[in-house]
């Protein structure tokens, strides 16, 4: 594992490939867990597993086109599962941009170190919430507060979970 935040040329960054079906299964599992676990543990709703999966595969694949397309698909599926009060495209737009940013950053920085993953996931979580609020305010004319303490706590929790989740997802890589 290399030191975190070493800025390198794109050609020196390793592009990770995954076992067949790994991305699809991980995505569906993340969505199903996100939609099931809060029944048993209400506090689980603070996690955004589809976002963590988007960030992980974006950072690993390091291809902006793949990252943004994966973000689009995951976001639209999350929209579909969130009920008709959430218009299709709300999570879609946010996760498209996060997927693009994650894969763009993944192509420039070493994101294998847990500290880098923690910091990046926290930042992406805040950016994701910012994009949701922006979409709601501008496109849907729904007043939403920008930031609150709950957001900070949720960002830290998601970042912490991401460190361990990403280690688990690393096992799906082809050696």
């Amino acid at each position: 594992m290399n030191g975190a935040f070493d800025i390198r040329g794109e050609s020196h960054i390793e592009v990770h490939k995954f076992r067949a079906g790994a991305i699809i299964i991980a995505t569906l599992l993340a969505l199903a867990i996100q939609a099931s676990f809060p029944i048993h543990f209400a506090r689980f709703a603070v996690l955004d597993l589809p976002l963590l999966v988007t960030v992980y595969f974006g950072l690993s694949r390091r291809n902006p086109s793949t990252g943004l397309l994966l973000g689009t698909v995951i976001g639209l599926l999350q929209d579909s599962l969130s009920g008709p009060t959430v218009p299709l495209g709300l999570y879609g737009i946010a996760k498209t941009i996060i997927g693009y940013l994650a894969s763009s950053i993944g192509a420039r920085l070493d994101t294998e170190h847990p500290a880098a993953r923690f910091a990046l996931t926290g930042a992406f979580f805040v950016a994701h919430q910012g994009l949701l609020v922006l979409t709601r305010r501008i496109l849907l004319a729904q007043p939403e507060p920008w930031f609150n303490t709950h957001l900070v706590i949720a960002a830290l929790v998601n970042a912490l979970v991401a460190v361990f989740l990403f280690l688990l997802l690393d096992r799906l890589r082809k050696n």
Binding site: A32, Q34, S36, I39, L68, L77, L81, S82, L88, I93
Partner: protein
Amino acid sequence: MVAIPSRHKSLVLLAGIIVLQVLMLAVQIKRTSEGRLIRVWTVGAVSPFERAGTYGFGWVRTTWRHYFALQNTTKESEQIRRENDALKLQITQLQGKAAEADRLAALLNFRQSHGDVPMIGARVIGTGAGTASLTILLDRGERNGILKNMGVITPDGVVGKVVESYPHASQVLLLTDKESGVGAMLADSRIQSPVGGQGEPLLVMKYVPNDDTVDLGERVITSGMDRIFPRDLPVGTVAEIKPGNPFKLIRIKPAANLERLEEVLVLLSLRPLEMKDEKSAGEAQPPARGATAAKR
């Protein structure tokens, strides 16, 4: 044809997909029925996993509680431990069944005491996949007669309304969601005002003038004015009152435990319903008492 440099291709793709989704949002705002097909597909694809997850989770929890959690005993009392474990296992099973039976009995009593009101019991198998809305997924849908805009309750009180019905599942918007609302009134003073969600555990009663008297702990019941819920179902109790301009700021604690729903009842009618009062309902059942005590 202008060639796009390869390093800009992903940016162009990003812009294109964002524009498409923005257009899709715009279409949905004008026509709310758009996009239903993808919702049907997605819910159809994921709900079996959720259903399996719910039952699987229950099985794992039961197995864990009934077997693995009982392993920490000493070797000396192996025989006693086995007997003890078997008894504990039976007790745990019976307790679990008793708790479930209590919940189901409450639902059944409620149904029987309102036999004239068509309703169906359903199990909660999932929640919304994000924090943008507060919804739950039920294991019954169109095939069971559940349609959009039907009311959902528990014997404790109002839960929400059906916002989408699929063949084998349906999605319910909880009362605590920002988009949710119910026609309500204060049980004692009979002041009517809609109650809505704020995306938080507490509800808010919106249009009660400052001059009107409201007491902490006062019960809030349905008014029947929304034509979804019958009159006199419990909505909640007044938890906080603050003066506002021009209306009071009243926060309501929901009567139903919306954070821990396992089984619910769906009112199978799109026409205004009338619930029986205690006398006509025969034996007064505890859950129904709250719904009817405030009759004028």
